[in-house]
Amino acid sequence: MTEAAANVQPIASTETAVPKPDTPGRLEISREHGLRLLHEMLRIRRFEEKCAELYSAGKIRGFLHLYIGEEAVAVGAMQALGREDAVVATYREHGHALARGVAVDRLMAEMYGKHQGCSRGRGGSMHVFDAQARFYGGNAIVGGGLPIAVGLALADKMQQRPRVTACFFGDGAVAEGEFHESLNLASLWKLPVLFLCENNLYAMGTRLERAQSQTDLAAKARSYLMPAEPVDGMDVLAVEAATKRAADAVRRGEGPAFLEFRTYRFRAHSMFDAELYRDKSEVEIWKQRDPITTFTSQLKERGMATDGILYALNMSVADEIDVAVQFAEAGTWEPVDDLLKDVYTPAEGRPSGSYGAA
């Protein structure tokens, strides 16, 4: 531990940075809901494990950023959103896409770059879009999604729609100017944005205290006069509860809210990362708080899951991922003739020259 790190509150060191487990039973849930949360986390985990495999096999190329370890954040937070709400995410967004309801087969096809992908294969891993799910990317410019979320929320407010725009970003984005500009504007105009910061302690390879003069990220958000709190991002129920509270307030028109989910990325930043910036022991400590294993134990303790149920769940997820891979494999490449298509909106989508008539 460095001296600087020792002064940091409340994320003081590797040890204290590991969130303490919640007391089982603190938050009441139904068995069905508990199993659904676990199922959703498992889908993300298995999907990404498969992606890593497919990357090694050369089926997926480019940059691939895995979310493994952070599943509780996407799954918990999405429980607070309805179909009409919008999601803006980052380049580490497979988890958000799946939790939001983007079809797993179309997502896998996108990973391949196939025409059947949710972005027609044009975006790949970092640029998942889905109009039906109101999923507005997949933004690979750190901080770049925040202003868009502000604008989506502005449109809702101006059209008197009681919607929420959930904007996911990492601790790295908090150092960007767009973070500060966006929180300021959203608060100034009381816009319905849910700023959801996934603090996994590393902006690529730069640890929080090496990038931030103030490591209490919620304090920054509070300075823009919005409610802000840190949340144990390894606990799906804590994430869900906090996000629901915040989303309700945002939906009531109280302006934006900020949540800092303290979480951890188990895998490398991307497939090219040798992880020179952190000790393996730190990763191992965080893995003890794996959101899937801890939640599985909780469900068992609560009597909501048995080994048999868990086995069946795992099998169904594995099957679903297999089917998605088959779908992607069977997919086709977009014809090269369509390369220029949709640089601009095609003529049929344009108004028929009503100018000149006035």
Binding site: A86, G117, C118, S119, R120, G121, R122, G123, H127, F129, D130, A131, Y136, G137, N139, I141, G144, L146, P147, I148, A149, V150, G151, L152, A153, L154, A155, D156, M158, Q159, T165, G177, E178, E181, S182, N184, L185, L188, W189, K341, D342, V343, Y344, T345, P346, G349, R350, P351, G353, S354, Y355, G356, A357, A358
Partner: protein, 327 residues
Amino acid sequence: MGTTTYREAVRTALTEALVKDPRVFLMGEDVGKYGGSYAVSKGLLAEFGPERIRDTPLSESTFVGAGIGAALGGMRPIVEVMTVNFSLLALDQIVNNAATIRHMSGGQFSIPLVIRMATGAGRQLAAQHAHSLEGWYAHIPGIRIVAPATLEDARGMLWTALEDPDPVLIFEHQTLYNMEGPLADEAGAVDIDHAAIRRPGKDLSLITYGGTLGKTLQAAETLASEGIDAEVIDLRTLRPLDMATILDSVKKTHRAVIVDEGWKSGSLSAEIVARLVEHAFYELDAPLARVCSAEVPIPYPKHLEDAALPQPPAIVAAAREVVGRRG
């Protein structure tokens, strides 16, 4: 037919858009209470209220990005950026988002956003308020770039830009705002697809746009007095370029000079030269020529600013050279 200024023509266009379409709103720095840094939006706050005339904090990246988001959310935002130099703070949103999202999402989302900004030099505002970077933006696929140089276009391009489902950047040359002249009472929306022949001629083509159109027309008059009949093309739209109009003209005149307040290196003028070489090489009777800004940051003192910019005498000299007459 009444008399109006370029500034009033833009304001009339804004007013018309705000009246016609409830999804339209204007946001930017000092567009409301201040009335716009070039007084374009003066009076609009009183007329349309703070919901639709939105003063923003000084945060170009975020209010331009918010324009993108609002467009995605069903609005028709008009974002005013005070000047092109400031728009560099919003380059991330314009280049990485506005220009890419349609293609990158496989055509799922269009971004019907209009961004207006002042451009160009001539008012002694020095090197951070006076550059002509519209040609630079014209490099980017996915956005459309227009430059109204006349009262009709100042009045008419905005509505057409708002009807466009994709992002349109409108560059208003800062020396034009006070330009005064007649404008038909029934003036309205105009096309933003085609270049315009502002002066027909047969001896050479002078190709320009925006702030240098007036200077080029002036040069054409001088040339006419010398018996050189110049055709003046106003590009109007810098992306996509209306090459058909340019090529038709050059095939007629066989000579061309490009006048552009941008710098020469890696520029719009370079692009036009390249396309003429590609598509009309055997039509040319003389080397192509360019009159552009000197390759310096635009300086403050008047004599240096004037020296840095394309001026009618330089246009005349280039034209004479191209038609083979020395002054």
